[in-house]
Structures are given as structure tokens and as C-alpha cells.
Symmetry: C2
Subunit: 91 residues, 2 copies
DNA sequence: CATGACCGTGATACTAATACCGGTATAAGT
DNA sequence: ACTTATACCGGTATTAGTATCACGGTCATG
């Protein structure tokens, strides 16, 4: 039928994820990292600020490579918030 | 301006990626794995068959968890084709 | 002052996620 | 033999969301 709208917890997860990427970026500029990953700076900004909470897999994979971080670790760190686990169970 | 259409190499990469997921699934049914990952079976089918070549990151993360595979390994295996590296450089 | 970095926004076109359909193939049961 | 159940396939339709470009604005620095 129809694609369902993102749940609030999905948006929050996206915001947390974005924050992790922001931290991983450190003092490097957004434009530089975006270019290294082969995506636009606006895209990176939207992801970091949580305005694109569910980015594409390969976009994130490219960013992880540019940032020298592991995808598995990113996911684990993102899931770490204990408050997040409750809505996931009921969803 | 506008989001550009997927390049052929992106579609091919998606197909390769889907094949990797198909292998990782082994003899388990599509419906079972999809349910374990919290996505629809149609979604998993589209990803495996390459009809959704750029799935969302968290969709893949959930699938990787259900399949007990590492995201980093998936990405590495997907990037392994030497033919794929040339278009990426020109893109 | 100029410059670089970042921010949010608007607009666009494309894509994914979901559900359903009819079809095929296989295996088991009657 | 036929029927039923299961799994998968490509196709269609709908909708929400993303990736991208471009813009004007703020802020910090030299």
C-alpha cells in the first residue's frame, strides 16, 4: 500500500547517528569529508543534523571510509541509548 | 537542483550487494529473515534482487544483525570487484 | 573588510519501503 | 492424477524520504 512515515524514535535515532558522525569528523571541515566520501556537503549536513534520519547505506559506508570508522561500531554506538530500546519493542 | 539518477555502476553494486545478502541468508526463508530484521519481505526481496540498489542504512543494519554478519565485511566484499573501481574514479 | 565554515531553507527529481497481484516451481497430501 | 501449501519472482501502485543544488544568513578568523 504505502510507505509509512518515520516514527519519532527513528528520527531520534537518526539524530543520535548524526551526532556520532559529527564527532567522528572532529576538526575536519564538512566540505572536505563530504568530498572525500563522494557526497554533497548538504547531504552530510542533513545527516549530521538529523534532518535526513535514514540515509542510504552506501552513503554512510562512504562516509565511514572517509572518517576511518567502522560501520559496526557506528551502529553499536547508535543503539546504545537504553531509552531507544523501549519504543523499538513496541513498534 | 536535482537528485541525479542512479548510475549503472551503482545499480550493479546494488545487485552484487543483494547477492551477498542472499548468500548470507542461506537456507532461511526470506519471510523469516525480513521479520527478524523488522522489515517487509518485499523489501528484502527487492534488496536481494537488486531492485532497490541503495537501501537505507538502518534497514541494512537490521538485516546484518538478523543474518549475523558484519556491515564492514559486507561493504568490503561488495567493493571487491576490480571492475567496479574504475567507474567510481570517473564518477 | 574579506574569507571560510556552517546553518537552515526551498525546490526538484529520484528512490526506497510497503503492499498486493498473478505467475512459477517444488514438495507433500489426498 | 489432482490439490494444497510454501517460497520466490517480476510487476504495479502509492507514499514518504533522500540526495542534490542553490541561496541568504550568521559567526569566527586574519
Amino acid at each position: 500500500m504505502v510507505r509509512t512515515a518515520l516514527a519519532p524514535w527513528e528520527r531520534e535515532r537518526g539524530e543520535r547517528f548524526g551526532s556520532l558522525l559529527r564527532q567522528a569528523r572532529g576538526s575536519r571541515s564538512m566540505a572536505e569529508v563530504a568530498a572525500a566520501a563522494g557526497v554533497s556537503a548538504e547531504t552530510l549536513r542533513k545527516i549530521e543534523t538529523g534532518r535526513a534520519p535514514t540515509p542510504a547505506f552506501f552513503t554512510i559506508a562512504a562516509l565511514a571510509t572517509a572518517l576511518h570508522v567502522s560501520l559496526d561500531e557506528l551502529v553499536a554506538a547508535c543503539a546504545h541509548n537504553p531509552d531507544w530500546q523501549e519504543p523499538a519493542l513496541s513498534a
